[in-house]
């Protein structure tokens, strides 16, 4: 761990944050009131994670922190210190191979305008990690915090179920 700055970060100041994002070590300066969502989108150029409401009501900003899904708009950037963060940009493999979730979203027509899609994908990834063979009801429960206004959710649920089946058929695939 690097040497810490004084305990209190003034509003006009910043704190250096060191974390990994999509497997790469990252360091950046964050204002204390900066949310993780804004840091990703503004400081770090990772605009795949979307801002749908900024108050945790829609799930569009879902990212994984140490493997667990949460709304990046309700986490401060300074809290990312030492954590492992995953965003939609890291879902595909190093050579661009699509994750089964991405493939199934494409195949099933689960993305229309696409704005909720990154959040849906990251939440689905976390869901399948803890429940590799979810029922339809379990998928809907898992995605209850992600709002979509275009698809009616039908094909999203289909895509997640198909990805679950695909992942259990070839387990190594998600480790990309």
């Amino acid at each position: 761990m690097s040497a810490r700055t004084p305990r209190t970060v003034p509003a006009t100041g910043t704190r250096q944050v060191h974390c990994t994002i999509n497997g790469a070590a990252v360091a950046f300066a964050a204002a204390p009131f900066r949310t993780l969502l804004d840091a990703l989108r503004l400081e770090l150029g990772l605009t795949g994670t979307k801002k749908g409401c900024d108050v945790g009501d829609c799930g569009a900003c879902t990212v994984l922190v140490d493997g667990e899904p949460l709304n990046a708009c309700l986490m401060l950037a300074v809290e990312a210190e030492g954590r492992r963060i995953e965003t939609v940009e890291g879902l595909a493999g190093p050579a661009g191979e699509l994750h089964p979730l991405q493939r199934e979203f494409l195949r099933c027509g689960a993305a229309q305008c696409g704005f909720c899609t990154p959040g849906m994908l990251m939440m689905s990834k976390a869901l399948l990690a803890s429940q590799p063979a979810p029922s339809e009801a379990e998928i809907r429960f898992g995605l209850a915090g992600n709002i979509c206004r275009c698809t009616g959710y039908t094909k999203i649920v289909e895509a997640v179920a198909a990805a679950a089946a695909s992942l259990s058929a070839s387990p190594g695939e998600d480790r990309q």
Partner: protein, 775 residues
């Protein structure tokens, strides 16, 4: 109707149209590399925020921005004193018939709670936000009228009274009237008259991407606007007109945007201000709405009150239909004229009636602006009409489905546009749906037996909707197809990247018509400097209009390609066919690949095939019948939709999965409209009460029922590519009355409004028990 060019593909088996090919725009969406307006960054970019009024109707007595300007990091502040005073429509030019010219960028008056009064550009959103608090505003308040009754009352203050053209009674536009036959005779012939008042609340599109735009000026005074919009050329037109620029000095870019559903057709105050802030500060400016602003300052559906009266003969024939509709426009007119005309005139059709008298009005109130939203006035009108048919059926002792089938418009009947209907699409939907859900006898399918306090019921709702905004607007779709020297092709289209899969559908149409593989066609869109003019994505017309323009362009390109191939093969072009990129002399084994036909000969210049297609559509109508099973908890009043079987007749399905997606999404919005969604305004102050996703309740994944969509192609329209018609708006229209009718089937209580809340259900059940007891 459609000019068939020699050798062009028509009817019969199609290779690409009708299959769910991989969508071209979706890969970026699942990898996170798709850029929406708020994802863009430019060096030196500033962040803008709007200061919004906290009163619903007032003059601005004083506005002082000095303290805001003095805040470190603030680069520009604009009030009504700093901006051009140009009256505009919000969406200009050919939209004029549908829209109202009653907006200034910023005015000395505010007419709804949350109207913009100033805009700030600063180095960060936080600084901009803090600057807003430093802007001092004093208001001279005026009476607030949130209902159409208050606004129409004698002596009511005129919300737009400062304009000479303001109409009495706070009318947005002169009332519309549609008349046919002899209404008095029609009622005289009736053996049953059914009458009712129907009311629609204020659902709002609530697209997931808040409005955003990024503006910058170059050193030559050219403006570039990156914006989330359905109508890039309208944005260009409105910006140019209001800012006093020639059209070729404004460039509008929109590659992806996160949903609009009609409400992103207007140009908003904040977007003009974004451009002006950028000019003042000489830096790019990003203006991103908060979610709350999408409620306060976006566009909602028009709340409505409808009085509907119909006469019936005992055999179910409708002899007369009289209706008066009052649409609540909110503080500005936006699409009021169009919505009022389309909504009112829709009652001339759907169910046949020779004697019709309809009146529609649109009234200003001090509430959030109503505008274009999927269904455009027809959601309201058909909610009333279809429910009343259901009521009549019960009174006549007829099965509602049978009554609706009997009266369904069909081939030769007049559509609301005045055109004759093609085919029997509506009847086909009703028959197919009945078969699917087992509604074959004289009443709805047997319901499940009660479980404790739960009751179950089935309902059906019908609709029809036009693809294109004709005759209100004469739209035009244009397409440009280039065939390159390797026989790959590019379609340039102005159709917006709505997310419906429109560009994929257009690419399918081009590939099919041109005779190439689907993968050989790519689509360029989203830049007004590059693509041909397009009126924008709305009115369910991207496939119908944009698709036809693309087909025409592709047909011309094909003609030129076959000419080239003919000269290579030394035959006449008329004897050639092309499919999957291979040109064949009909009836022989002689072929040449399109690539070889195109490839430049030794020492010769590269070929240049550029073909243009223009299409000004009239009208085609799509049809739907939705069948819905609901559950009513008679102790809590909560209604749950258990299953939906939507049946849609669309002429020709271009991309089945995309078509289903439109239906499923429309059903979600319709369920929300009918049961849980309402943007509520305090009736006294006009303040918004639920401008957030916590209290504006849209169905979530757990709330949605299984949806079993059936797509029919029984009434193709010659005006669409291979008979294809629109589908985008139909689903949201049919689902509402289906749910209301199902509730009646379940518990015998009739609702004539939306949303239907649990409290209202409970109260109605109580009254029903009391009536039974008293009887």
């Amino acid at each position: 109707m459609s000019p068939e060019l020699p050798g062009s593909r028509s009817g019969g088996a199609l290779d690409i149209v009708g299959t769910s090919v991989r969508r071209s725009d979706v890969v970026e969406k699942v990898t996170g590399s798709a850029r929406y307006a708020a994802d863009l960054r430019l060096p030196g970019m500033l962040f803008a925020r709007m200061k919004r009024s906290t009163v619903a109707h007032a003059f601005i007595r004083r506005i002082d921005t000095r303290r805001a300007l003095a805040l470190p990091g603030v680069k520009a502040v604009l009030t009504h004193e700093d901006v051009p005073r140009v009256l505009h429509y919000g969406s200009p030019m050919p939209r004029a018939a549908s829209c109202t010219r009653d907006q200034y960028i910023l005015d000395r008056k505010v007419r709804y709670w949350g109207e913009g009064v100033a805009a700030v550009a600063a180095v960060s959103e936080e600084v901009a936000e803090e600057a807003l608090a430093l802007i001092e505003v004093e208001y001279d308040e005026l009476p607030v009228m949130t209902t159409t009754e208050a606004a129409e009352a004698a002596g009511a203050a005129l919300i737009h009274g400062d304009r000479a053209e303001a109409l009495q009674g706070n009318l947005v536009v002169a009332p519309v009237r549609f008349e046919r036959g002899d209404i008095e005779r029609g009622f005289a012939e009736a053996e049953l008259v059914v009458e009712g008042e129907y009311e629609g609340g204020r659902p709002t599109p609530a697209y997931m991407e808040p409005n955003a735009c990024l503006c910058h000026w170059d050193e030559h005074g050219r403006l570039t606007v990156h914006i989330s919009t359905q109508t890039a050329f309208m944005v260009r037109g409105a910006m140019a007109e209001v800012l006093g620029l020639p059209l070729n000095r404004v460039r509008v870019l929109c590659e992806h945007f996160g949903g609009g559903f009609g409400a992103k057709q207007d140009l908003f105050q904040s977007e003009f201000l974004c451009a002006l802030l950028a000019r003042r500060a000489r830096r790019p400016v990003m203006m991103e709405w908060t979610r709350k602003e999408t409620f306060l300052a976006g566009r909602s559906r028009h709340p409505v009150k409808i009085r509907l009266r119909q006469g019936f003969r005992r055999d179910g024939t409708i002899t007369a239909r009289q209706a008066s509709l009052v649409y609540n426009s909110g503080a500005y007119g936006s699409h009021g004229p169009g919505v009022t005309a389309v909504g009112t005139s829709s009652l001339t059709s759907l169910y046949r009636c020779d004697n019709v008298l309809l009146e529609g009005r649109c009234v200003y109130t001090n509430s959030p602006i109503a505008g274009a939203y999927r269904g455009y006035g027809v959601v309201q009108a058909y909610y009333a009409l279809d429910i009343q048919l259901d009521e009549a059926a019960r009174q006549l002792g007829m099965d509602p489905a049978a009554l609706k089938l009997k009266n369904a418009v069909r081939e030769g009947d007049l559509a609301p546009s005045g055109h004759a209907i093609v085919g029997h699409g509506l009847e086909d939907c009703i028959l197919r749906g009945r078969q699917e859900v087992g509604w074959t006898g004289t009443k709805p399918p047997p319901t499940r037996p009660p479980e404790g306090p739960l009751r179950f019921g089935w309902g059906m709702g019908c609709e029809m909707h036009g693809s294109s905004a004709y005759p209100g607007i004469k739209e035009q779709g244009n397409a440009l197809v280039k065939v390159h020297e390797d026989a790959s092709a590019t379609l340039y289209t102005g159709t917006a990247g709505l997310g419906t899969g429109a560009h994929t559908a257009l690419a399918q149409i081009v590939a099919e018509e041109l005779g190439l593989a689907f993968e050989a066609v790519n689509v360029v869109h989203g830049d007004t400097d590059v693509v041909p003019w397009d009126i924008g994505a709305f009115a369910s017309h991207t496939t119908y209009m944009g698709g036809m323009a693309a087909k025409l362009a592709a047909a011309e390109a094909r003609r030129q390609l076959l000419e080239r191939a003919a000269s290579r093969l030394q035959v006449l072009p008329a004897g050639l066919e092309i499919r999957g990129g291979i040109v064949r002399v009909a009836g022989t084994d002689r072929t040449i690949s399109a690539r070889d036909a195109m490839w430049p000969g030794h020492g010769l210049p590269s070929p240049h095939i550029v073909a243009h297609g223009t299409y000004t559509p009239t009208k085609s109508y799509s049809f739907a019948a939705h069948f819905v099973e609901v559950q009513v908890d008679t102790e809590t009043g909560q209604v749950e939709v258990l299953q939906v079987v939507p049946v849609h007749e669309v002429g020709r399905v271009v991309h089945p999965i995309a078509a289903q997606g439109q239906v499923e999404g429309g059903v979600q919005q319709g369920i929300g409209h009918t049961l849980t969604e309402n943007h509520e305004i305090d009736p006294v102050s006009g303040r918004s009460l639920n401008a957030s996703f916590v209290d504006y309740k849209m169905p979530l994944a757990m709330d949605m029922p299984p949806i079993r969509t059936l797509l029919l192609e029984t009434a193709p329209d010659p005006g669409g590519p291979w008979g294809a018609k629109g589908i985008g708006e139909d689903p949201i229209i049919a689902i509402g009355p289906a749910i209301a009718n199902a509730i009646f089937d379940a518990v015998g209580v009739r609702f004539r409004h939306y949303p239907i809340t649990p409290e209202q259900v409970l109260r109605a059940l109580r009254m029903q028990r009391e009536q039974v007891r008293d009887a």
